[in-house]
């Protein structure tokens, strides 16, 4: 079956303009990196905040998400 034999697919989903996506994509990527850093690595290999409170609070999540923890 080729696509041409089908009736024009009215349900074909339109592409969303890149200009609409780009600002969100940049913001979300940066925030996601921050989140993954704080949950996955802060106060392990590197520390931004002094002490071990961040590490200990998310300790179980970090282990169970499989991050190289300590």
């Amino acid at each position: 079956m080729t696509v041409a034999t089908r009736p024009a697919v009215s349900s074909a989903l339109p592409a969303i303009p890149m200009g609409d996506i780009a600002p969100w994509a940049i913001l979300a990527s940066l925030l996601a990196v921050l989140v993954v850093y704080f949950v996955g690595a802060e106060q392990g290999a590197w520390s931004v905040i002094a002490g071990t409170d961040v590490h200990e609070f998310v300790h179980d999540a970090r282990h169970l998400l499989g991050f190289p923890c300590h």
Binding site: A25, A45, E56, H59, G66
Partner: protein
């Protein structure tokens, strides 16, 4: 676009509630068993492993309850947001199927590239395992491998975009990804730090539970997002 993003964040939050349940049921027993070993068994508790009896004043209840939930929810919501943006980029450009099929492809490829492949090279360690002296090198190698995996996935997807045959598309894409990542896995250092005295069935149970937790998080984020978009996002 704003609505898609909201649905993504919501899907991630819903998924983290489900994942919290799985993590409690499957993951916490292994975590607790490893911590118990660490604090009681001096044989496996090498002097150079981190000591979990010192939790910085935080109780295990706090760590296994609110701490676990906040950590999972933060990662879940971030995953939902990234999924929404990936969906917006892929739909009508890289993927031309239904909403569910599009979300299914993105979630599956993302799970393979972000979770499964890095996990094969750098599996997570339970408490009492892992040499603190190599934490810097391990963390760096892990994130480098993860970044390369994502970049290679992007490269492979872009490279096969124009190929008409579905079969050839998948074979060539998979070939590019597998080739680059196998090379990287061989070149990057490996860390073999599990004490021979650490029970191997507990190690296996722990690592399997990390895969189960991630699989639950990704699958439920994808399912929730696909459903939410079909239900509330058709005008987008």
């Amino acid at each position: 676009m704003t609505r898609l993003l909201v649905l993504g964040l919501l899907a991630g939050l819903l998924a983290s509630v489900v994942t919290f349940g799985v993590a409690r049921l499957v993951g916490e027993p292994a975590l607790d068993a490893a911590i118990a070993l660490e604090t009681t068994d001096s044989h496996t508790h090498a002097a150079d492993t981190p000591d979990h009896s010192d939790t910085g004043g935080m109780s295990r209840r706090l760590q296994a309850g609110p701490g676990l939930f906040v950590g999972l929810a933060a990662v879940g919501v971030a995953l939902g947001g990234i999924l929404a943006i990936s969906y917006a980029v892929a739909r009508g450009r890289f993927l031309h199927g239904s909403t569910r099929a599009t979300v299914g492809w993105i979630t599956s490829l993302g799970f393979a590239a972000v979770i499964v492949v890095p996990m094969l090279k750098f599996p997570g360690n339970p408490p009492a395992v892992g040499n603190p002296e190599t934490i810097g090198a391990r963390t760096l190698a892990y994130f480098a491998f993860l970044a390369l995996s994502l970049a290679t996935l992007g490269l492979a997807v872009s490279a096969v975009k124009g190929i008409a045959s579905r079969r050839r598309k998948m074979l060539i894409g998979a070939g590019i990804y597998a080739g680059v990542m196998s090379g990287a896995a061989i070149l990057l250092p490996s860390f073999h730090e599990v004490d021979p005295a650490f029970p191997r069935d507990l190690l296996w149970q722990f690592r399997a539970s990390t895969l189960a937790v991630q699989a639950t998080l990704w699958a439920s984020t994808g399912i929730a997002f696909g459903w939410l978009v079909e239900r509330f996002g058709q005008s987008i």
